[in-house]
Amino acid sequence: MYLVLPPLAAETMFNVGSLPVTNSYINTTITVLGFALVGFFVSRAAKKYYAKAVSPAGFLNFVESVVEVMLEYCDQVTRDRKKSLQFLPIAGSLFLFILVSNWMGLIPGTGSIGIWHLVHGEKELVPLFRPGNTDLNMTVAMAVLAVVSSHLLGIMTIGFFKYLNKFIKLGDLYHALISLNPVKILTAVIEFFVGLIEIFSEIAKMVSLSLRLYGNIFAGEVLLTVLASLIAFFVPLPFMALEILVGLIQAVVFAMLTLVYLNMATMDHGGHGEAEQAH
């Protein structure tokens, strides 16, 4: 019996120029093509039904129902349909992409179809496909995109300086100093340092988002590999069912957290407003 655990990093299959194409990257690219196809069909259906003002049918109906459900989930966080429509492209794309990537890892062939490579002087079967989210590059890319877009949307919504004041609270400090109230000044100084800590929390957001997803999906992959090599038939099935759940839950968690970050970033209630009310 020969057992190879999937390594932490995705394996390089070949190089395109200086870009190492890993097995995870192959999976991701396939997913991207799939989504491009979906986009094409939806846009075709939209042209067919929306342009003629006919009630939608078939595929478009399904897409609409999915979008509707997602919008309702967004509403639960944002409590505002306009904001939901604004955030849905980011959070919804994350959800769908992560979900599809995770579930693609459960398709037979992932991890078992491979090319025999010479690794560390030993001939090993390097799998051709590896779930997209078992590559930290992918999850970090998504986390960075989510957090950065939350900052950009925050700046766009409440203005650059107001947004900056959430982290470097010079504005609040100034207002407190003007009021000459020692308690207020003390609070503002403490708030100022809290604001500085917020900057680190933004980095923590990215790290936690990416590592959570990567860890869960990678662990699932390892678990399935180990179980499959111990007893190949029937025993891994409940674990695969669990992996379906984990894939869904992780997609929901990632998308929901992103939604919360987006919502928090675009909300405009800091100490500044309270200070103005107190005047």
Binding site: L5, L8, T22, G39, V42, S93, F97, A141
Partner: protein
């Protein structure tokens, strides 16, 4: 048993290879080129879904929701207006009916008064007329009595005259009779 040993072996082997790669980020497979490539991949997915799915479908759903809300509100308004109109109509009908009843009572009352008045007038007129007629008759009577009286007087005078004349001219009569006999002979 062998399986477990092989798993343990594989795990240690994997750990060793990772240790050899050097650096935490390197161990986890972070590679900035791959990072950018995956970022681009996901950005493409996001763009496609935004442009072709969430954008148009979301807009359409929102439009439809607003449309349905508006239609429902309109229907409610129409229903409200209908009820209001119905109440107004009922009220008007009731008012009209009361007015009509009042008018009818007033007319009946007026008619009664008019009738009584007319009756009274007729009665007085009748009485007046009757009185007038009686007076006229009386006057006529008196007049004719007077006339008769005067005529009787005349007659008496005439008759008296005639009688008196007859008595005075008796001789003449005899002569006349004689003359008449003579002619017969």
């Amino acid at each position: 048993m062998f399986d477990l040993i092989s798993i343990a072996h594989a795990a240690t082997e994997a750990a060793q290879t990772e240790a050899q790669s050097g650096g935490v980020l390197g161990t986890l497979g972070i590679n900035w080129k791959l990072f950018v490539a995956q970022l681009v991949n996901f950005s493409v997915v996001m763009w496609v879904l935004w442009k072709f799915v969430f954008g148009p479908v979301g807009k359409k759903l929102e439009e439809r929701r607003l449309k349905i809300d508006k239609a429902l509100k309109d229907a409610q308004d129409v229903e409200k207006q209908k009820t209001e109109f119905e109440a107004w109509r009922e009220e008007e009908m009731r008012k009209t009916r009361t007015q009509a009843a009042e008018a009818l009572t007033a007319a009946q009352k007026e008619a009664g008064q008019l009738r009584e008045k007319l009756l009274a007038e007729t009665k007085t007129e009748q009485e007046k007329l009757g009185r007038q007629a009686q007076e006229q008759i009386k006057a006529e009577q008196q007049k004719s009595v007077l006339e008769i009286k005067s005529q009787i007087g005349d007659l008496v005078i005439l008759a008296t005259e005639k009688i008196l004349k007859e008595k005075l001219d008796n001789k003449r009569d005899q002569e006349l009779v004689k003359k008449a006999i003579d002619t017969l002979k």
